[in-house]
Assembly symmetry: C2
Homo-oligomer: 366 residues x 2
């Protein structure tokens, strides 16, 4: 499965081996995922005088050499990282030379790592980019999606226009895949299929970064049509540590990671958009925390100054809780002030009154 | 606090006493809610070859006399029922004579029990109703909300119009409160405040139906501005059993419950709207299952043929999981076929491909 990839086989990866040393389940069939043991409550929602909802989950903060710096819950349980690993999925785009060959700048490379909300600049950059590689919105296989940004939505519907695939939050990632297909001389049609060379190249990169042979890992199809591959949370964090500091990777990958980190830092708006968590954190930390959300309550992050990777998942998939858990971890590692509003976001009702908040439990593990 | 209400005091309620007999915490300060003990996994989300997300929660199915017919998890933990008790909150509107005095029909009474999605008929019924009591949209204190129904949203934004308070999913409940205020000769302004006579009347009704003195219960403010009062899940189920069969209630309440049940059965569209879970279940069961969703993963239901009440909450507040748990309970009690699509809804990606499903775990308690 890694035939296209020229990297060494991942099984012997010592950092990953150290990380999973207590995980005999690695030899069991991958579909035998651990049972629903109760992870700890990471975040709670307060309304008035009471906790209204509770969010369980797990997190891992891992150093380059596979050392688990902090964790809670079952970090060996495989999770689908969803969009939280878009920065890793963008590595082949840069590493292959495709980005340079087509003259991609910070905006395009950041957009390849993005889950945007369909604001005009996101759509414009994607559309122009597609033109530059001889493709169009019709070549995107991610499906149409209405913009999640309220102003963009009102503008689109106000003009009585339909959403198209460039509005899809993943349109940058897909433009990156099309660019890679063009560069490798592969057919563009079907680029989202597991067997396509683009997806195999992405999978090979993910194997090296996580230190796992993922050929037999449980998999499925993402909201935008590409494969999702189950990876234990701890290994996702290791991959993000390597993205932060790829010193143990061969040089083409080191340069590719540095290029992607620089693009995300230079263009935080492209990663998510106006007022959004990822965009705010990357911007406010000056790129010291390169974080990315994924559907179903996943967050990944690279602490570039510390060489640490973070991965977390809220069991039930609540993104609102994943943000608060990530903010708490960033505060713990000095990237955000503990009193930052992102650590304790207020809940308002429709009339604008503050009625509660999301917060870390006083005795919680974050 | 129940001065307006002429019902007997609730503390001596034998059905509720039987229900909570194992609950010494009732004597402790109400704010000392039980800790975050792990409720069982009620629902899971599958994507491809793996469970992607897990939803813990609790449910209670209770008979008129307080007998717990089925349950899982901590049913003594207080929860905010949110919109799931709108049928109970509508009781004073009917019982007081206000509904009859202002000539409300099935559509209006059902709308008082609704969390609608801003479709044209919902907005039109609310607006005309407000006119009939000498009020207007400006008297609603629930705040404006964009329609959640996609077609209604596209139509509103396509006309470049702003949402107003009649689009708010709670506009029917609030119109009912205004109607009650008019009928009782109370000021309409401030009708959402805890101290207002309308809310005190609603609270008194909730006390009788749940069998609890709620004067010291934890409380907060709902998304639409009215008070939310914490009630143990088991007592919510008892209240719904009494709504299904109010044989132990004084006659004005028996008639009011029957009137509301008839309105919900006759106008299921008003309860939620096109293609929505509540509307479908009420319609497909011919009113044998009168169910109502609440925010933060709550569902309440009255099985009118069986005289049973159901209450459930997903710990983390996920409505998608609450629906599947409710569908499973309805199947268990013969109200839905176990193979009904609502019991195992498919997950599709943006291109329309089936990528997974929500389901009850094989060994789960539902």
């Amino acid at each position: 499965m890694t035939e296209i990839d020229t990297q060494p086989p991942p099984k012997a990866d010592s950092a990953a081996a150290a990380l999973v040393q207590d995980a005999p389940a690695q030899d069991a069939p991958a579909q035998d995922t651990p049972g629903p043991g109760a992870n700890p409550v990471l975040v709670e929602a307060i309304r008035g005088a009471m906790v209204e909802s509770r969010f369980r989950g797990a997190f891992a903060v891992v150093g380059l050499e596979g050392r688990v710096v902090a964790s809670a819950g079952d970090i060996e349980r495989p999770v689908y990282a969803r969009s939280a690993i878009k920065p890793l999925q963008a590595i082949p785009l840069v590493e292959s030379g495709a980005a340079e060959a087509f003259g991609l700048g910070d905006a395009e490379i950041a957009l390849a790592c993005a889950s945007h909300r369909g604001e005009p600049r996101h759509v414009a950059v994607a559309t122009a980019w597609l033109g530059r590689i001889g493709c169009s919105v019709a070549d995107l296989e991610c499906g149409a999606q209405l913009p999640a940004n309220p102003a963009a939505l009102a503008e689109l519907l106000g003009a009585r226009e339909a959403a198209h695939a460039a509005h899809n939050n993943c349109s940058g990632k897909h433009s990156g895949f099309l660019t890679l297909a063009r560069h490798l001389g592969l057919p563009t049609q079907g680029y989202i299929r597991y067997e396509h060379g683009v997806q195999q190249r992405v999978l090979g990169t993910l194997e090296i970064m996580t230190g796992l042979d993922l050929g037999a890992a449980p998999r499925g199809v993402d909201g935008c049509g590409i494969p999702v591959i189950a990876v234990p949370l701890g290994n996702l964090a290791l991959a993000m540590a390597r993205f932060a500091d790829p010193a143990d990777q061969p040089e083409p990958r080191q340069a590719a990671c540095a290029r992607i980190r620089a693009a995300m830092t230079a263009e935080p708006f492209m990663i998510s958009g106006t007022g959004r968590f990822c965009t705010r954190v990357i911007s406010e930390t000056g790129g010291r925390a390169l974080i990315k959300a994924g559907a179903e309550g996943v967050y990944c992050g690279a602490l570039t100054g510390e060489g640490l990777g973070i991965a977390l998942k809220i069991d039930d998939g609540a993104g609102r809780a994943a943000e608060v858990a990530m903010a708490g971890l960033l505060a713990r590692f000095g990237l955000l002030d503990a009193g930052h509003e992102l650590c304790k976001p207020q809940l308002r009702n429709r009339a604008g009154t503050v009625v509660g908040e999301l917060r870390l439990p006083a005795d919680g593990p974050v």
